[in-house]
Assembly symmetry: C2
Homo-oligomer: 453 residues x 2
């Protein structure tokens, strides 16, 4: 029999992986359970969506990362519930796994604030599949515009709306701005990609709310230089195949846009809700679970909840943000705390988040950074951003690959992964879209290549 | 009006792209039509299927490649028919495009020899999507095996059958051998991936039929060293969810294998059949179109058919093989030939294929090469293979990325793109597969990580 305590970790994101690795030399058996077989470097997911990077370059197979850690095993499985009374988790395939300590790092999913029907028209950026779909939508939009001649229809294909002006929304909008103004500049013969309208909207009074106002202003300026229109104080009322209905200053407005991307809110995944119920844990309105100062559940001190799924208050009573740093530090803390309890029986000191600052990038050479009270913007902030992101990418190989992709992109404006693959969740069909726009059947399009530009 | 001759090229593969680029300085307008927005380096597609490379690393966006060629335009569209009488091609979206010269380089698709029902159980390796699906199948097979305990079921998940022992089949089998013996060696706790059975089968008496017998023997030896069983003289009688039925020496045999990959035959795509019909052209039984010594159709001297879709005889009356070299040289020839006819009105000399040799790779450090009468095998052949493939990859950036991926893989046995993404065309569901194998409901799987190895 197995005498060593069994630590089960749910989720192989930043939090779960940090916890597993921090237990490397601990006298415990570790089982890391994830639905996917890879760790995903989420902060760069928008670069897959905008054709800069390929999925493999920001993913690390969990078995590869933990393969040589002898006390760890990786289990591909979908945890659907936790039973805190019997110390066990239940997988979707019916398996039951016993734990002595449980670390729940199941992350967050995107939330459409009760409007799930918007999801099909406005994908969000949470998985490789969604990122590939967004890439598909953006690139096809330019292709359809190139093939049709009606100016109104063409304009709606060349309008891109990004809902939500947090870091993800700002980064996406900046990247689409670059695609239109730089990457595709020579690529088309009928359209001018730089005429694309890119609209970044948010209900808040400014972009990047968690940043100091000064940096929000600078980010807005950088975005506008890339042709992005920033609209704040805007509420989304509806999203459909043809565009977005918004309300601003109590007037309703319609935006015709064939590409809408959701960078709105997040909510707890189904497992979070199941856990909250079975452990009678308190949650906030997005379903995040309230944990104590040692990151455990009040009633079950052997269950840690870390990262985006948890809500943990800092010294001043403000909840910690849902960023990689909080998850990673939480994972390392949980590991150390378990080790201490096993070895000394003592209760660990409370979790203290060490805030290294926040960052957001806008295009190829601008960013805003707020670190240790120092505010940076422009190129210096971009270098800080690039360095920190490269540093935290799991696997040395991926660091080298991403560095090379960025180096080429900086020199040539070209994006290395501009391919349209897979399908979308919507019923988009390129041939049908073109056929529908044709005014006469079989009209010729023998436009000479040399004449257009 | 457009006074310059309009050259329409169908297909952005090796043949079509070579033709377009060879017309760079010609006094013509070029329209390259492709269903996809990227050129795919097909010879390395098996490395996507086996997790070595990411799709973006062997794809080059056609607009990027031809963006600065002022006389060229790229059209995203699906050509469904050609009307040689009116000099026009018809797209699926209803557009009609007039040409003065037409170069048809539409390639080939996989053929299941009249058994289309096998396709869903045995994907072939023709597109990025199929390659990703094969990767999905291979990696999931190990994951299911890790989770189930019945030895018979487990063996069938750890059996991989590759049908067809041409270059693609040999390369796939070698790569799966490496995955099982090297890449995954430390990755699992319940199974030993090196116990996987990898079976490469073909109806021919030996692998790599187009190569000299000596090299076929060496390739077989290299494959066996990687644990691949080579079965020649085998006919496939059926493929289903559970495995393959084969006939060998007039006895029928059943192989339980949950992963079957088709590297069998090729056939002309639908456009090839449409063209053959409308131009009353002769075809062979796989639908390839017979062209004259100048690569044009006998009745329509302004229509060139090049690459895999065409069948062109060499000096000795043997058809040229369906490889990238033939397509590239055919494309360059067609371009030069059109230019000559425009500029001098003369008929061009017949196409002469310059055979640089053939290559096939088996795993990380072995290959066979037959070039200029010199037969190479083992590591020297591998270096030739790697050098030539790197040289022909479109876009310098991708050359660098692939080189780095290979360098890391050589040093660490690790594969950079081992992620399971997307879905399969079959109704595979991981959770259901595991649940179906479970003997008691909710059996525990609290196997300690340290105990297994």
């Amino acid at each position: 029999m197995n005498a060593r305590p069994h630590v089960v970790i749910i989720g192989g994101g930043f939090g779960g992986l940090s916890a597993a690795q921090a237990l490397k030399r601990a006298p415990v058996d570790v089982t890391l359970i994830d639905r996917r077989n890879f760790h995903l470097f989420q902060p760069l997911l928008y670069q897959i969506a905008t054709g800069s990077l390929s999925p493999g370059e920001i993913s690390a197979p969990l078995r590869g990362v933990l393969g040589k850690q002898k006390n760890a095993r990786v289990l591909l499985g979908d945890v659907v519930d936790v039973n805190p009374e019997t110390n066990s988790v239940l997988l979707a395939d019916g398996a039951i796994i016993q734990y002595d300590y449980l670390i729940v790092a199941a992350g967050a999913q995107s939330s459409y604030y009760g409007h799930e029907e918007w999801r099909q028209w406005a994908p969000s950026l949470k998985s490789i599949e969604e990122a590939t779909e967004i890439r598909h939508k953006i690139l096809y939009a330019f292709e359809v515009a190139e093939r049709i001649s009606d100016p109104v229809a063409r304009a709606s294909w060349l309008t891109f709306v990004i809902v939500g002006a947090g870091a993800t929304g700002v980064e996406l909008a900046g990247a689409i701005g670059e695609i239109a103004r730089q990457t595709l500049r020579n690529d088309f013969r009928s359209i001018h990609p730089e005429e694309a309208q890119i609209i970044l909207m948010d209900g808040s009074p400014r972009v990047l709310m968690p940043f100091p106002e000064e940096l929000s202003r600078k980010a807005t300026k950088s975005l506008e230089r890339l042709g992005v229109q920033v609209r704040t104080g805007v509420m989304v009322k509806g999203i459909d195949r043809q565009g977005v209905t918004i309300a601003q200053d109590s007037t309703e407005l319609r935006l015709d846009a064939r590409t809408v991307i959701w960078a709105g809110g997040v909510a707890a995944p189904p497992l979070g809700r199941a856990l909250a119920k079975s452990a009678a844990a308190e949650t906030d309105k997005s379903g995040r679970i309230k944990v104590g100062p040692d990151l455990t559940l009040p009633r079950f001190p052997n269950i840690y909840v870390i990262g985006d799924l948890s809500i943990c208050l800092d010294g001043s009573g403000k909840p910690l943000p849902g960023v990689a740093q909080v998850a990673m530090q939480g994972g390392a803390y949980a590991a150390k705390s378990i080790l201490r309890r096993i070895e000394t029986g003592e209760e660990p000191p409370p979790f203290k988040y060490f805030d290294k600052g926040s960052l957001a990038v806008i295009g190829r050479a601008a960013a805003v950074a707020n670190a240790f009270g120092v505010k940076l913007s422009g190129l210096p902030a971009w270098f800080v951003w690039a360095f920190i992101h490269l540093m935290y990418i799991v696997e040395f190989r991926n660091r080298v690959l991403v560095f090379i992709q960025w180096a080429f992109q900086s020199l040539t404006f070209n994006r290395g992964a501009r391919l349209i693959t897979g399908t979308t969740t919507t019923d988009f069909n390129f041939n049908k879209e073109i056929a529908a726009q044709r005014t006469q059947p079989g009209a010729e399009i023998t436009q000479p290549a040399g004449a257009a530009h």
